[in-house]
């Protein structure tokens, strides 16, 4: 088990090194940072001096090493546009995105698994078939369209929920949360549904097909032959087996909830890192883009590492094999 975790951590570090390389390359290949920093009126001496000061005359590999060294310490440089440290800006924006991702992730997982199990058990029922047909809409409609439709219905027509922003937030330490005020909670509803709907339908369809597969297995038949009730068979024996493959997909999907928050945040003008990233692209604010890229990859890798460990925890066969 320990060697399994060590191996996985090693792989994760390798992935991070490679995304770090991509992020860092943006500095070198997307325009010259000196150009971005110095204004129109500059002398060749200024350029040379700054180049030396910033170490940009060093070989690529040395620069990359120093970038990593700084990044590990949480230093991603200074935003070209705002003139503030990138880390500070990200920290300020991260709570909004993480809260949104957490709520929509829980929404997607809880509802996805519940509906998946329901549609699998009542395979031929009317309700199950309706849900299955409706889920096609969730899979096929693009996120921004769902967001706009929801805004139109609940904000414009019914006026129940706000159409943009986070509402009032409360600061706890450095973390600004929308969980503690009514307007903050209300503001979370529409963006969370928009962001989580696709993942929810995906998880639901996956759980359904896995569950149907598991219900065909001999040990389920044998469980029936032992006289166990349907409830015990479905929720104890079948569900646990269903979760083994589903967990992998959930892990990948959670990562993409954070990564794809960009679109939802744009539609709802949600002040998170996704919106920050979109603005950074518009102004070619490379330090922010690079830092965002690193942040997302750390989250992806972290979640998947966790999933791999969880996987071995659920399935005893993997514990021994590893």
């Amino acid at each position: 088990m320990l060697s399994f975790i060590i191996k996985r951590v090693g792989q994760s570090i390798l992935v991070l090194l490679i995304t770090g390389l991509v992020a860092f390359s943006m500095f070198t290949f997307v325009g010259d940072p000196i150009d971005n920093m110095l204004g129109q009126e500059r002398t060749m001496e200024d350029v040379e001096r700054l180049r030396q000061q910033l170490g940009l005359d060093q070989p690529f590999i040395v620069q990359y090493y120093r970038f990593l060294e700084q990044a590990v310490q949480g230093n991603f440089g200074v935003s070209y546009r705002q003139g503030r440290p990138v880390a500070e800006i990200l920290l300020e924006r991260a709570p909004a995105t993480l809260e949104l991702a957490a709520v929509s992730g829980i929404f997607a997982i809880v509802l996805g698994i519940a509906l998946g199990v329901f549609t699998a058990i009542r395979r031929d029922g009317v309700a199950a078939n309706l849900i299955m047909s409706a889920s096609l809409i969730g899979v096929s409609l693009p996120t921004f369209l769902i967001g706009i439709l929801l805004i139109y219905l609940f904000s414009v027509e019914l006026g129940w929920l706000p159409s943009f922003g986070r509402g009032e937030t409360v600061k706890i330490g450095g973390w600004s949360t929308g969980f503690l005020t009514e307007s903050g909670l209300k503001a979370l509803i529409l963006p969370s549904i928009t962001l989580g709907l696709y993942q929810m339908t995906l998880i639901m369809r996956l759980v359904r097909s896995e569950m149907l597969e598991v219900l065909r297995q001999d040990y389920i038949r044998f469980a029936k032959a032992r006289g166990l009730s349907d409830r015990v068979i479905n929720f104890r024996h079948a569900l646990k087996n269903t979760m083994v493959p589903v967990i992998t997909v959930i892990g990948l999907q959670l990562g993409s909830i954070i990564a794809f928050a960009i679109i939802t945040e744009t539609v709802f003008q949600w002040p998170g890192v996704g919106l920050l990233f979109i603005n950074a692209i518009q102004f070619v604010d490379i330090p922010v883009m690079a830092a965002y890229l690193m942040l997302i990859s750390v989250m992806f890798v972290g979640i998947n590492l966790l999933v791999d460990i969880l996987y071995a925890f659920i399935d005893p066969r993997l514990r021994v094999a590893a």
Binding site: S3, I6, Q217, D218, Y219, R221, F222, A223, K224, A225, R226, G227, L228, S229, V232, H237, K240, N241, V244, I314, D315, P316, R317, V320, A322
Partner: protein
């Protein structure tokens, strides 16, 4: 005589289909008394398992009980509601399934599954249930039950798992157990132990057992009464001795005749002729344009020496801390030109690993494989390609060894295309010819594997193996997934191949009577080592090693043939 615990009267199951009602079970009646074992025998599709499922109320819809009555301990149970039936299941009727590898939930410990069942049916406390569970594990002779209680199913061997399944079926002291092919997936020696256990428990606890099987040897060894089923109907039933000794019905007679005998070697396997399902093969036609490379240079076509294979059993970053399991340990033998060489042994003895190394599916760790004078282990890529063309393999499971997404024509054509043996235009013709020769209908190449029965699929495998015109054929348990009647067909084809095409074969099996019929020489493997190699006749009559003697003793026997009967069988064949 004691009152029957279970009676079924005129039981009929039907399945509505597009083509009208299909009746997989029709008018079946029998009784089970306490402590009695009733064998139900027949080929797949005869309705034997369906009868068992109907009794315990586990028919898969749309199948349903259309007619008849099932009485358990004086109560009629076939008309009960789903909830009432569930209460009887596991409590009064236990069930044992064929495959112990799949009938336990892999994610729960054996103890959890036992305690769950005991608590459900007996309503005792957790600790009492645990005590009972450990006592049961001990009763079915699982060593160290306390420790085993907390282990997961994958930590048990096949035979041990089947014991756990038996323990689960016995949990609530049922009065009837339905055992559906309980030993089909097990080795001969394990099979004997499990059957003994079932016999013993039936006696001790006065449980009535319905033993569904297609193996006549198991019937003869274990059962008191036997019911022979064919196409959903009972063709004959009565005390086992009487049915096996003096069968009345034609089907029973041909079924008994089709069982391979270990005592005498016949030229061909007797086929089950009942029902007009004779299939004709035209292997001799293949011989006409068969490319024979002539005899091998040395007379020995394949020689393995010092063959060894180790598998990593415990990984570690440090090479010194890795642990290995030696699956094949210094095995050496030679196979002569045109010979059928048998390899027998229990599962895990390394016989399949040997075959896979010869077929280049596993790399060789140590030792050499020499084919027709050339050392395979030292061949270059071109040499290996030529070698692979000459060696083909037939696998055990015809359901998983054919790609379900490819048409049968494409499956058989694939080796021809891969080895570039024929111009594109001639491939279709050759494929059709091959399929025709193994007795498949002329439109077979357009169909997909799932449209064929197990025996037909195995014939497709044979056609695929023959496509490259190999000199050496490896058959890894080619018939152990098949019915007796189908087994005879497949084995006869293999015999024809050897006779008409002069193929040399490595025949792997755990079924000793089949080996006796098929092989010229036999090697016995145990725990990765080759224990002895002898001419087949000599091996069966005077085995040298103790292990071989033990194996021969455990073989289920239909009956001891007298000298006269053996002479009779021989005479019938020549006459």
């Amino acid at each position: 005589m004691a009152e029957p615990v279970l009676s079924i009267r005129n039981l009929t199951v039907d399945i509505p289909t597009r083509h009208g009602l299909f009746k997989p079970v029709e008018g079946v009646s029998y009784d089970i008394r306490p402590g009695e074992i009733r064998g139900v025998v027949g080929e797949s599709g005869a309705g034997k398992s369906m009868t068992g499922n109907a009794i315990i109320g586990l028919l898969d819809p749309p199948a349903r009980i259309a007619d008849g009555e099932v009485w358990l301990n004086g109560r009629r149970i076939d008309q009960m509601g789903a909830e009432e039936k569930r209460r009887i299941r596991g409590k009064e009727i236990g069930m044992i399934f064929q495959d112990p590898l799949t009938s336990l939930n892999p994610l729960f410990t054996v103890g959890e599954q036992l305690v769950e069942t005991i608590q459900l049916h007996l309503g005792v406390s957790q600790s009492e249930a645990r005590k009972r569970a450990i006592a049961l594990l001990d009763r079915v002779r699982i060593p160290n039950p306390e420790e085993r209680f907390n282990q997961y199913p994958h930590q048990f061997s096949g035979g041990m798992r089947q014991r756990v399944v038996i323990a689960l079926a016995l949990c609530s002291e049922p009065s009837v157990i339905v055992a559906d092919e309980p030993t089909t997936a097990l080795d001969v020696s394990i099979q004997a132990q499990v059957l003994d256990l079932i016999k013993e428990l039936a006696q001790e606890r006065q449980v009535g057992v319905i033993l569904v099987t297609h193996d006549m040897g198991v019937i003869a060894d274990t059962t008191d009464q036997v019911t022979v089923m064919y196409a959903g109907q009972v063709v004959e039933q009565g005390p086992t001795d009487q049915i096996l000794g003096a069968p009345q019905h034609e089907y029973t007679k041909s079924l008994i005749a089709a069982v391979p005998r270990p005592q005498v070697k016949l030229h061909r396997f007797p086929q089950v002729s009942y029902g007009g399902r004779d299939t004709t093969f035209k292997i001799e036609d293949l011989a006409r344009n068969w490319d024979r490379s002539g005899a091998s240079k040395t007379g020995t076509l394949l020689e393995v020496s010092g063959l060894t294979k180790r598998f990593l059993s415990k990984g570690s970053v440090l090479p010194s801390r890795r642990e290995y399991f030696t699956a094949v340990d210094d095995v050496s033998f030679g196979i002569k030109d045109g010979e059928v060489f048998g390899l027998v042994g229990e599962s895990g003895s390394g016989k399949s690993t040997v075959a896979r190394m010869i077929a280049t599916l596993y790399p060789v760790d140590a030792g050499t494989i020499t084919f027709d004078g050339d050392e395979m282990t030292a061949m270059d890529a071109a040499g290996l390609a030529r070698y692979r063309r000459q060696i083909q393999m037939i696998f055990q499971d015809p359901f998983s060894s054919l790609n379900p997404r490819m048409s049968v024509g494409d499956i058989v054509a694939e080796p021809l295309i891969h080895h570039k043996l024929l111009p594109r235009g001639e491939i279709a013709g050759r494929v059709r010819e091959l399929l025709d020769r193994v007795g498949l209908a002329s439109d077979a190449h357009r169909k997909y594997p799932h449209e064929f029965s197990g025996g037909q699929r195995q014939r497709i495998s044979i056609a695929r193996a023959l496509a490259t015109q190999p000199r050496f054929l490896i058959c890894d348990e080619p018939t152990s997934a098949l019915d007796v009647s189908i087994q005879a067909q497949i084995l006869n084809i293999l015999k024809d191949l050897q006779e008409y095409l002069g193929l040399t074969m490595l025949f792997i099996s755990h079924d000793l009577p089949v080996v006796r019929q098929m092989c010229d020489r036999v090697g016995v493997m145990r725990q990765g080592k080759l224990v002895e190699v002898q001419e087949t006749g000599a091996l069966f009559e005077s085995p040298r090693s103790d292990y071989t003697k033990e194996l021969l003793n455990l073989m289920p026997r239909l009956e001891q043939l007298s000298e006269d009967e053996i002479a009779n069988l021989r005479a019938k064949e020549t006459g």
